[in-house]
């Protein structure tokens, strides 16, 4: 079943076209990577998929319903959509606006009018699962970058959404935190959820995606499996996802060529 159907979607910020007649289809239950360099339109596409922006032309359908401002003005649809689709922003600071970590994570279920006892239980559960229970009374603004990212993730995962949209989830995380986050996302929902990740980091592509879409200047440059995309060096170089730089191999040889790490 098709989860998102994007058809000839165009979105512009005043003079700059972020997405230009983009068409793609995302199936239910798949893990998708949106690849592209900075400014390629990945974050904009995620916001469009989350019903926060609406295209100037073209359309996005979610499970057959075209996402329009008019549709989101209906409370029943809006609340159901917010329950089903969660977006984790690239900058966790924009997602943390409550006085404590507990309040932050409880924000979404309260907005969706869950029973209060269920909200408390669910928040405790997700804080424990993400190993941040000890932070529950802390002020979010005072946390470290990695902690903020976890709280931001918890604030979305608390709803157990069927679709998770992630904008550069491992950006600015140390290697250990990156690895833990990838493990969490791979295990989350027993792998049955739809996860759409915008990233320019190709290292963990095989773990986070079954299908990849490469964006370049708002256009769809390619699509395929992670192996197919990673094998196409010319595509990756043209999309600014790999570059040549000098480095030293274990053998001691130092030279320059494009590579993924």
């Amino acid at each position: 079943m098709t989860l998102f159907e994007v058809d000839r979607l165009t979105y512009s910020y005043e003079q700059v076209t972020a997405l230009n007649e983009l068409s793609l289809s995302i199936l239910e239950g798949t893990r998708v990577a949106l690849l592209g360099a900075n400014g390629s339109g990945k974050s904009t596409l995620l916001r469009l998929l989350d019903g926060l922006y609406f295209g100037q032309s073209g359309s996005i359908c979610f499970r057959g319903d075209e996402l329009t401002e008019d549709l989101f003005s209906h409370e029943d649809f809006a609340l159901e959509f917010r329950k089903e689709v969660g977006l984790v922003f690239q900058n966790p600071d924009v997602q943390l606006f409550n006085p404590t970590v507990f309040d932050e994570v409880a924000f979404s279920p309260l907005q969706l009018r869950w029973p209060k006892s269920e909200v408390r239980d669910r928040v405790d559960e997700i804080l424990n699962r993400l190993r941040i229970f000890h932070l529950k009374d802390r002020v979010p603004h005072r946390l470290s970058g990695g902690e903020k990212k976890r709280v931001a993730l918890a604030s979305v995962l608390v709803l157990d959404p069927a679709v998770l949209l992630l904008d550069e989830p491992t950006a600015a995380l140390d290697p250990r935190s990156q690895s833990q986050l990838i493990d969490l996302l791979v295990e989350w929902g027993g792998g049955a959820k739809s996860v759409i990740t915008a990233t320019h980091d190709l290292r963990d592509l095989g773990d986070i995606a079954d299908r990849c879409y490469v964006l370049d200047s708002g256009l769809l440059a390619a699509e395929g499996t992670p192996d197919e995309i990673l094998r196409d060096q010319e595509l990756l170089q043209n999309a600014n996802l790999v570059h040549a730089h000098r480095h030293r191999h274990v053998s001691g040889v130092t030279h320059s060529h494009p590579h993924l790490h």
Binding site: E75, K83, Q95, P99, R120, H141, R142
Partner: protein
């Protein structure tokens, strides 16, 4: 950890960083103070919003100085019983309110026609009785209402205030704007703090006063643009998590006997102030 460090010496950059640090600390202090165990903190937020608003109205309507002074004294007593120090009131409200109000009130001392009670040496300007009365009313009203408003902010978590406003049928759009304004200010302080620290890390040697002023002015525009963009993203993040303007909290508002008693006392005090202050 993201933290802030005081700078004891330095020029404009260091002073600005210090000032921003203090402002953020104050914002966090307000939220902590709202959770302490003082008199007002124990009351239902609706009672505080209604009661303090009634007192603000009474102080604004009163036409006798001693009545405004009595409401002011009541506000100071409430602050003391709510574990808010006189020092906090003085530094957070009184000095600032007096400075701004005095700038408006001082011309009234000389410009209001009436009986001369003092003549300035050298300038020979007349201070009139009516001018002093007018300035006195203005300053006392502003100080009293600002103190009462601060009592509400210091004794009530911000989200509870917003929810209480909705209980009183304040329109959603107003509550959203109020909520966003608070976040906008915090984001602006945070962004400004980072900008000035970044600037400091790239500054070698001593900057002249004019260079520092130029830097501050150029930074202000960038800061507003960045903050505007960030606060827009915050609103999107709220929308993405189901926010539609209404405020929902884990804590239910429940009126206790002490809340009814407090509401009665607030109403009686406000009514007495309005009646005697006619």
């Amino acid at each position: 950890m993201s933290g802030f460090h005081r700078h004891r010496k330095g020029g404009l950059i260091e002073h600005t960083i210090d000032g921003l640090y203090m402002a953020m600390e104050r914002a966090l202090h307000s939220e902590n103070s709202a959770h302490s165990r003082g008199l007002l903190q124990r009351l239902d937020p609706r009672v505080k919003v209604a009661g303090l608003f009634a007192l603000i109205l009474a102080a604004s309507l009163a036409t006798r100085l001693w009545v405004i002074a009595a409401v002011f004294a009541a506000a100071v007593c409430l602050a003391a019983l709510s574990l808010i120090s006189i020092r906090t009131l003085a530094t957070r409200v009184w000095i600032g309110a007096f400075t701004f109000t005095a700038a408006i009130a001082i011309p009234a001392l000389f410009l209001t026609p009436g009986a001369t009670i003092y003549r300035l040496p050298w300038l020979n300007w007349s201070v009139t009785h009516q001018g002093v009365t007018t300035a006195g009313y203005l300053v006392s009203r502003v100080e009293t209402t600002a103190t009462l408003a601060l009592l509400l902010i210091f004794t009530t978590p911000w989200m509870h205030i917003l929810k209480a406003l909705r209980v009183f049928r304040v329109p959603v759009v107003f509550v959203v704007i109020l909520g966003m304004t608070c976040r906008y200010i915090l984001l602006m302080l945070q962004t400004a703090h980072e900008m000035f620290e970044s600037r400091k890390s790239r500054t070698v040697g001593v900057m002249s006063a004019s260079e520092q002023r130029r830097m501050a002015i150029s930074g202000a525009g960038v800061l507003l643009t960045k903050t505007f963009q960030l606060s827009g993203d915050v609103y999107l993040a709220m929308q993405s998590r189901g926010f539609r303007g209404e405020v929902y909290l884990l804590d239910d508002f429940r009126m206790q006997p002490r809340d009814w008693l407090a509401l009665t006392l607030f109403a009686a005090l406000a009514a007495a102030a309005v009646w005697t202050g006619r």
